[in-house]
Subunit: 218 residues, 2 copies
């Protein structure tokens, strides 16, 4: 155990995880799970980020969620509990440190530790609600609304979003051509500037206004 890299969790949970789990390192871009694979154990991200997504038979992708430090993977937990294969794909988006709790220890802790069980449950609820919001967004919102929402979400960290049109398409489960067309419309309106692998937000307030307007139009 290394104090400098403790998980951002409550002390009792961190103690349980660090006592029973194995520490793993995943390099940026490393595939951690493929569709149908057995899950190796319950996992908690310490540093870095894991992207969980689904892929269509034609190779299109859609982001399900990201796992940040202190968070677990609801689909992994679900597979461990139901004894099924992983129904999506997972990839490290940056150099990532994680704890992996082998299946046997996971099951025994679920039976024996109230603290651990409540930690697993609380991660479940909010993630399920967000998956439901994703279903609604994909079903009800136009691609214009979804791109506006995505750009607003991404630009919380700065006004330059370093992603290609293909990466944005993969995040939203859309085709690159559709995303490019919509981004060019925003560029013509002076809301964004497009450069290779970058979307620069030029007019944040116009983006917020466009987002509100398109939401109300549904």
């Amino acid at each position: 155990m290394n104090d400098q890299s403790a998980i951002p969790l409550s002390a009792p949970i961190a103690h349980i995880i660090e006592t029973h789990a194995q520490r793993l390192h995943a390099a940026d871009g490393q595939v951690l799970a493929r569709a149908g694979q057995d899950c190796q154990g319950f996992m908690v991200v310490v540093t870095g980020c894991i992207r969980v997504f689904a892929r269509s038979s034609a190779g299109r992708e859609i982001d399900m969620y990201r796992i940040h430090p202190g968070e677990t993977c609801v689909l992994t937990t679900s597979c461990l509990m139901a004894g099924e294969g992983f129904p999506a794909e997972a990839i490290a988006e940056e150099d990532t440190e994680l704890w992996v709790l082998p299946v046997v220890q996971f099951r025994s802790l679920m039976d024996q530790s109230d603290v651990f069980r409540h930690f697993v449950f609380s991660s479940y609820g909010s993630r399920l609600t967000r998956l439901l919001q994703l279903v609604q967004s994909v079903a009800f919102d136009t691609i214009e609304q979804r791109i506006n929402e995505f750009l607003l979400g991404e630009c919380r960290h700065g006004l330059v979003i370093s992603m290609s049109h293909q990466q944005i398409a993969d995040a939203l489960g859309s085709a690159r051509e559709v995303i490019s067309r919509q981004l060019k419309t925003l560029e013509k309106k002076g809301v964004v500037a497009l450069a290779r692998g970058q979307v620069v937000i030029l007019d944040y307030h116009a983006l917020v206004a466009a987002h509100k307007k398109s939401k109300n139009a549904v």
Copy 2:
């Protein structure tokens, strides 16, 4: 407890539920939960069927899942565990009998009963996987594919599907006009016949073939 209407569950689970839960009756069409409401307890359907769906601000709907006899509602369970409001809506689709286990008993059983906990867990896994499949279907499949798949799913019970175009639209999160257009195309091809509130499957094998063809085209 009435032996004639026992839940289709394993004996130990049925015993736990029937000892601690309250029996409720919901009439066909009765709203059981609205978005944002607190959940009253963990529930198990005995007879009948409950439809869980989401609604957009414009009133469009999309089916999340149905709860059949012996099944529980994963979103209710999730809300109980996380202490959050119900994120969707639920309605009885026919006269429905259900057991409702009050929150306090639910929490105490989750802490104390291995059998009950494993029952709750196993319901979780498969439902989560199906929610994920729904995200993928909505994101990646064309409406043609989704209607073909829906009709094939519904006609397992017979070749006459007693649903209006609006009901099919609500199930798929689409607009009625879109569904009507697609059904008319299928009618022109002699695959279905359309009557008021009914879709009659005239050529099941052609529907299977169209479904396979549209799936491969993605």
